[in-house]
Amino acid sequence: MMKVSKARRREITVGYLCLSPWLVGFIVLTAGPIIASLIISFLDYDMVHPAVFVGLQNYKKMFFEDPLFWKSIKATGYYTLLVVPLNLVGALIIAILMNQNLRFMNLFRTIYYLPSVLSGVAVALLWSWVFNKDFGVLNYLLDKLFGIYGPNWLGTEEWVIPALAIMSLWGVGGGMVIFLAGLQGIPTQLYEAARIDGATSWQEFWRITIPLLTPTIFYHLITSIIGTWQVFTQAYVMTQGGPNYASLFYVLYVYFNAFVWFKMGYACALAWILFIVILFCTILVFRSSSYWVYYESERR
């Protein structure tokens, strides 16, 4: 048997001791609840009557008998398809503008960044007022500047998700900061070399900037997909899932089932499907990454 010195043993003990808050938290508040959630998803449980085992009934109901489940998938999926690319391209464009060597850049960066750190109920209330059909500033400006008669943003089925997507673009500054750091990490020699070879700025952009940013883009994609599938506060405050469930975001539906209708079993089944959807999206992006993400240390 290998002899472990006293000092070494002490390091191991201290290591685990310092780790213990997270480890205990992981077991009690994460790992335990994940397993519990899976078990509850096979039950019919309303917190008043004793739980009844129903097998796969909850899952079956979800896919075959519950139109609201499909509505929530549609709302969240549509939102994801709008927001993820818009945010990515928006953040990238603003970051490139910010990366120019001009005066007052710090001021611009502050202005673009500020909204992204504001969130919660106050921001949701602010945007419900911006989107107000008759007196909101958005429709006013659309009318004054372009002569467009703006829609009832939060009150019509076809406009509610685009409205919430516009609102999410207000927070594009967070992604901008990340891309800006990525841009500043690109060695300037690459651009100098390209210029000597007679490359146009367009070629520089597609052949140097974008390839070297792909790891950042990759990471941004994953975190924003995970984020869009967890929208809650805006939907709860601004629309309550309406009109006609057009903005019934997935997590909002889970919340309604669990804490308004007390269908704990069904809510857990929904949550598990969400888990699988997110896992699936993440794996998809990861799998595709070997085709388009460029890592400098990697030889090809």
Partner: protein
């Protein structure tokens, strides 16, 4: 050369035009909120819009404060936020120290495990957690809102760990030679070296507790225990069409995050860049 100089001016002018119009668009919602909060009900429905209200109605803020116990909600929120910040800083830095500086079997596996938990949507754990707290009689208390701060939040542990990794190991060795134990090394030698990370975590923690809506919504029932976020929501329900009061209340709620942002933008950006997450 003359032509290229001209081109340069042309390009810069276009850039400024784009940046300024973008900046105006980004600021309009905030300006609009503040402007509305200073109007009378009649001014709100005026057409065309009165950008600078005349007269300026400061009384809306007084009305918002007295309509519901806002000060109490702010007090509750501050209490939750500060007890959580203390927990977040202590716990996250201790766990990060363990991951960054100490060697023990299973460390790297546990680190990966911790990072992978970031992918788990909170709705999966939310319901069992609720049932757990309920079985201990902790519903309608602040325990479910504060306790998580004392078990460490993976992304902040990761952030602090990255900072620890930049501190040379010579510090630990020198401390050891001087007879400093592990915890003393952590507390007296290493923590002062990573102050920017601790400030970033404190800020992120404050922001997330100040804005947290779902947690209080699930766990708090009595109105006197409400946080600011729940109070705002209550306010919205009571004053549906009184937009000037709702906007005054929203402005009040957004002042602390804005002030902190201006004071600590540097730490924000550092934290965001390292974790790759927007706060």
């Amino acid at each position: 050369m003359v032509e290229s100089k001209f081109r340069r001016y042309f390009k810069d002018t276009i850039l400024y035009i784009i940046l300024i119009s973008g900046g105006v668009i980004f600021l309009i919602p905030l300006f609009w909120m503040i402007s509305t909060s200073l109007k009378t009900s009649a001014q709100i429905f005026k057409y065309p819009i009165e950008w600078i209200p005349d007269p300026v109605v400061w009384k809306n803020y007084l009305d918002a404060f007295t309509a519901i116990p806002f000060l109490r909600y702010i007090g509750n929120t501050v209490f939750i936020a500060f007890t959580s910040i203390v927990g977040d800083i202590l716990t996250c830095s201790l766990v990060a120290y363990s991951f960054a500086r100490l060697r023990y079997p299973g460390r790297d596996f546990l680190f990966l495990l911790m990072l992978s938990t970031l992918m788990i949507p909170s709705s999966v754990t939310m319901i069992p957690q609720f049932l757990l707290y309920k079985s201990f009689g902790l519903i309608d208390t602040y325990v479910p809102l504060i306790l998580p701060a004392y078990v460490g939040y993976p992304i902040w542990i990761f952030l602090i760990r990255q900072f620890f990794m930049t501190v040379p190991f010579e510090y630990d060795d020198a401390a050891k030679i001087d007879g400093c134990g592990y915890l003393a090394t952590y507390w007296r030698i290493l923590l002062p070296q990573i102050r920017p990370a601790l400030i970033a975590v404190a800020i992120f923690s404050f922001m997330s507790h100040w804005n947290n809506f779902m947690g209080p919504l699930i766990y708090l029932n009595s109105q006197e225990k409400y946080t600011l976020a729940l109070g705002l929501r209550l306010f919205q329900g009571l004053y549906v069409t009184k937009w000037e009061l709702v906007m005054a209340a929203s402005t009040i709620a957004l002042i602390p995050p804005t002030v902190i942002f201006f004071l600590a933008q540097k730490y924000f950006i550092q934290g965001v860049v390292i974790t790759g997450l927007k706060g």
